[in-house]
C-alpha cells in the first residue's frame, strides 16, 4: 500500500527539523560544487594563487617594515623616550631634566618594560688640530646603551667605553673627516647648561662604523658621567630610553605610560619621534594595497564568471525545484552557500599552503646581492629580503576574499529571487 491516506502523518512542526534542513541545503550546495569539477577547481585555484601571491607580497612588505622599525629603534630612538616636556620642540641642553630614581621606578613598574637607559644628548663643535665639524654628542651609560644598540659590535678600531670613561668614541665618518685615530685627542667646544661655556679635550678610545650614515658622520659617544660634567649638567638627562619586546607591546605600554607620566615630563613613541618613518611605511603599504586590490578584482571577475555560467546552466533545474515546491529563499541560500564554499576553499587552500612557505621564508631571509645590497648596507639595513608571518599577513587575505565572495554571492541570490519558474522551465 503506497498511500494509506488515513495514516499518512500530518506536517510535523516546522522548527523541529530545521537543522536537518540546513544540513540538506549545505549538502546540496557541496555536491553542486563538484558537478563541474574542472571549473570549480580552476576557480578555487585562481583564488588560491591570489591568496598565495598576496600573502607572499604582504609578508615581504611587513617583514621589511619590521626590520626598518627594528633598525630605527635599535640604533637610534629606542621604542619610547621620556623627555622634559619642552625638549622635543627645542632640543636644548636647558630643556633637560634631573635624573630621579622615582621616575625610573615608576616606568619600570610596568611589566611590559624591559629596561630603561639614560642619555644626555647635545651638539658641539668637534675639532682636531686644524679641522672642525659639527657633532652630535651622546652621553651614554656604556653598558646599558650597548644592551640596546650593540654599538660595541660596530667598533672598527680601539675599544668600547668603560663605565666612567673620560674618553670618547667617534663615528668613522667624523674621524675620517677630522683625520683622527684611536689614542688621538679630540677637542669639543659647546655651550653647557644655562649658558656656561663648555670646552674640553678627550682621548679617542675607539672608532665605530655607525649603521646610520647621518650619525656615522657626526656622532661622538662619551660616558654619561663625563658628558654631564662637560656640559655642567650635573645629574641631568635629555632622555630616558625605554625598551620593550616589540612594537605591539609598545602600543600598550605607551598607553599606560602616557597615563602615568605627566608634567613636567612627556612620553613619546618612536612613531611620534620619527613620523617620516611611519609615513614611509604607510606610503609603501598603500602601494601594496593597490596592487593587491587589482589582483583581487581580477580574481573577483573570474569567480563572478563562474557563478554566472553556473546560474545559466542550471536555470532549468532551478525552475523544476521551484515548480515542485522549493521556496526561492531556500534555493537562494543553497546557491549562496555554493559561492561561499568556492571562496572558502580558495582561502583555506591558499592559507594552508602559504603559511608554511612564509614560515620557512621568514626563517631564511633571501640574501640580496649587487648594488641594491650595497645601498642597503650603507643605509644601515641588512641586505636581506625579510618576511613576516604576522597574523595580519593572513588575515588580510582571508578578509579580502571573504568580502569579495560575499559581494559576488549577492548575484545568484538576487537572480534566483527574481526567477519566473515558467520561463526557467522552458530554458
Amino acid at each position: 500500500m503506497i498511500i494509506p491516506a488515513s495514516n499518512y502523518p500530518k506536517y510535523p512542526g516546522k522548527r523541529k527539523v530545521k537543522y536537518q534542513n540546513m544540513g540538506t541545503n549545505i549538502k546540496l550546495a557541496w555536491r553542486n560544487l563538484w558537478r563541474n569539477k574542472r571549473r570549480t577547481i580552476i576557480t578555487v585555484a585562481s583564488i588560491f594563487f591570489g591568496v598565495l601571491l598576496s600573502a607572499y607580497m604582504t609578508s615581504m612588505q611587513e617583514g621589511s617594515y619590521t626590520k626598518m622599525v627594528d633598525i630605527v629603534v635599535k640604533f637610534y630612538s629606542g621604542y619610547m623616550q621620556v623627555h622634559q616636556e619642552d625638549y622635543w620642540e627645542n632640543k636644548s641642553i636647558n630643556n633637560t631634566f634631573e635624573y630621579k630614581q622615582d621616575l625610573v621606578d615608576q616606568i619600570l613598574a610596568d611589566k611590559d618594560i624591559d629596561f630603561v637607559i639614560p642619555r644626555l644628548e647635545s651638539y658641539g663643535l668637534a675639532s682636531s688640530q686644524e679641522l672642525t665639524k659639527g657633532a652630535m654628542i651622546f652621553g651614554i651609560d656604556p653598558k646599558g646603551e650597548n644592551h640596546l644598540t650593540k654599538i660595541s659590535d660596530k667598533l672598527s678600531a680601539g675599544n668600547y667605553l668603560q663605565k666612567k670613561d673620560d674618553g670618547v668614541i667617534l663615528g668613522q665618518g667624523l674621524a675620517n673627516y677630522l683625520r683622527l685615530n684611536v689614542n688621538d685627542t679630540l677637542v669639543i667646544i659647546s655651550q653647557g647648561y644655562h649658558g656656561i661655556s663648555a670646552a674640553d679635550k678627550f682621548p679617542i678610545r675607539g672608532i665605530i662604523k655607525h649603521v646610520s650614515p647621518e650619525l656615522n658622520k657626526s656622532i661622538v659617544y662619551m660616558s654619561l658621567h663625563k658628558c654631564q660634567e662637560f656640559f655642567s649638567a650635573e645629574n641631568r638627562l635629555s632622555s630616558l630610553v625605554i625598551n620593550v619586546a616589540n612594537n605591539k607591546i609598545m602600543k600598550r605600554a605607551l598607553r599606560h605610560l602616557k597615563r602615568k607620566i605627566k608634567h613636567p615630563y612627556s612620553v613619546m613613541s618612536w612613531e611620534e619621534m620619527q613620523p617620516e618613518v611611519v609615513q614611509q611605511i604607510e606610503g609603501d603599504r598603500a602601494g601594496g594595497v593597490i596592487m593587491k586590490a587589482i589582483l583581487y578584482i581580477v580574481i573577483a571577475f573570474g569567480i563572478l564568471g563562474t557563478i554566472m555560467m553556473m546560474m545559466m546552466e542550471r536555470r532549468r533545474e532551478f525552475g523544476v525545484m521551484i515548480a515542485v515546491g522549493m521556496q526561492k529563499r531556500k534555493l537562494a541560500s543553497i546557491v549562496f552557500f555554493e559561492t561561499l564554499f568556492i571562496g572558502l576553499l580558495g582561502i583555506l587552500s591558499g592559507l594552508v599552503v602559504s603559511y608554511p612557505i612564509l614560515l620557512l621564508q621568514s626563517a631564511n631571509p633571501i640574501p640580496l646581492t649587487g648594488q641594491a645590497a650595497q645601498l642597503m648596507e650603507e643605509f644601515g639595513f641588512e641586505p636581506y629580503m625579510f618576511f613576516s608571518t604576522a597574523w595580519v599577513v593572513f588575515r588580510q587575505q582571508a578578509i579580502s576574499v571573504s568580502i569579495i565572495t560575499l559581494i559576488i554571492a549577492i548575484y545568484p541570490v538576487i537572480s534566483i529571487l527574481r526567477i519566473k519558474e515558467i520561463k526557467a522551465l522552458r530554458a
Partner: protein, 228 residues
C-alpha cells in the same frame, strides 16, 4: 466531488508580434481518481493548460479552483507552498536533480515538507519499489535510462501525496517499451491507490489507456470523452 474546477480560462501570449490565444475559454472539471489524457496537435495549448493548472503560469482571465482554493488569490510564496502540498509534476524531459540519487530525488519534496528521516526513507523506498526501481535507489540520474528516470520522476511526484499529478507529455522522450512500462505503472497507481493523473500526449497508445480523453484545438476543448 470535483477537485479541480476550471472556468472560462484564457491565456494569450503577446510576446511576439502576433497575439496567440493559447488557451481560449476552457471550462473543465476533474474528480478525484481520474486518469485523463489531454490530446491535440502540437501548438493546441496542452502545455499552457497544464502549466496554468499547476499554478506555474497565470491566466489572463478565468478561474482555477483546486479544492476550493482559487490559485489566482495566492501570493508567490504561498503558491509555491500550495504546489508542494497539492500537486505532483512529471515533466517531458524528466528534470531530476542531477546531484541527487534516485532515492534522494524522491525524498526531495519530503525534505521540503520537513518529513522525518525515517518517514522519508520508508516512503521513498516504497515508491521506488512501486515504479520497479528498487536496487537503483543509490544511482544518480545520469546512470539511469530515460525510462528509469521518468519512473523516478513519477515516484518523486507522488512522494508528497499530492491531490493530483500533472504530466506534460511524459512519454514523448521514451521508447515504446519504456512508454508501456511507465503507462502501466501509472495506471496501476491510479487503479490501486486512486491517484489522479492528468497527462498530455499525442501518442495514440497512451491515449488508448486513458479513461477520459480531452481534445484541444487552438486552445479550445473540442471534445471530452469518458470511457467505460
Amino acid at each position: 466531488m470535483n477537485i479541480i474546477e476550471i472556468t472560462h480560462l484564457h491565456k494569450t501570449y503577446n510576446e511576439s508580434e502576433v497575439k496567440v490565444h493559447a488557451v481560449n475559454g476552457v471550462n473543465l472539471n476533474f474528480e478525484a481518481g481520474e486518469f485523463a489524457a489531454i490530446v491535440g496537435p502540437s501548438g493546441s495549448g496542452k502545455t499552457t493548460l497544464l502549466n496554468l493548472l499547476g499554478g506555474l503560469d497565470s491566466p489572463n482571465d478565468g478561474k482555477i479552483l483546486i479544492d476550493k482554493t482559487d490559485l489566482s488569490e495566492l501570493k508567490s510564496s504561498d503558491l509555491i507552498k500550495f504546489r508542494m502540498k497539492n500537486i505532483g509534476f512529471v515533466f517531458q524531459s524528466y528534470n531530476l536533480i542531477p546531484v541527487l540519487t534516485a532515492q534522494e530525488n524522491v525524498e526531495f519534496i519530503m525534505h521540503l515538507q520537513n518529513r522525518s528521516k525515517q518517514e522519508r526513507e520508508e516512503r521513498s523506498m516504497e515508491l521506488l519499489r512501486a515504479v520497479g526501481l528498487d536496487g537503483r535507489e543509490n544511482s544518480r540520474p545520469n546512470k539511469l535510462s530515460g525510462g528509469q528516470q521518468q519512473r523516478v520522476a513519477v515516484a518523486r511526484a507522488l512522494a508528497s501525496k499530492p491531490k493530483f499529478v500533472l504530466a506534460d507529455e511524459p512519454t514523448a522522450n521514451l521508447d515504446s517499451k519504456s512508454t508501456e512500462q511507465l503507462l502501466s505503472i501509472m495506471e496501476e497507481l491510479n487503479r490501486k491507490e486512486n491517484i489522479t493523473f492528468i497527462f498530455s500526449t499525442h501518442d495514440q497508445r497512451v491515449v488508448n489507456k486513458a479513461r477520459r480523453v480531452i481534445t484541444l484545438e487552438d486552445g479550445k476543448v473540442i471534445s471530452d470523452e469518458r470511457k467505460r
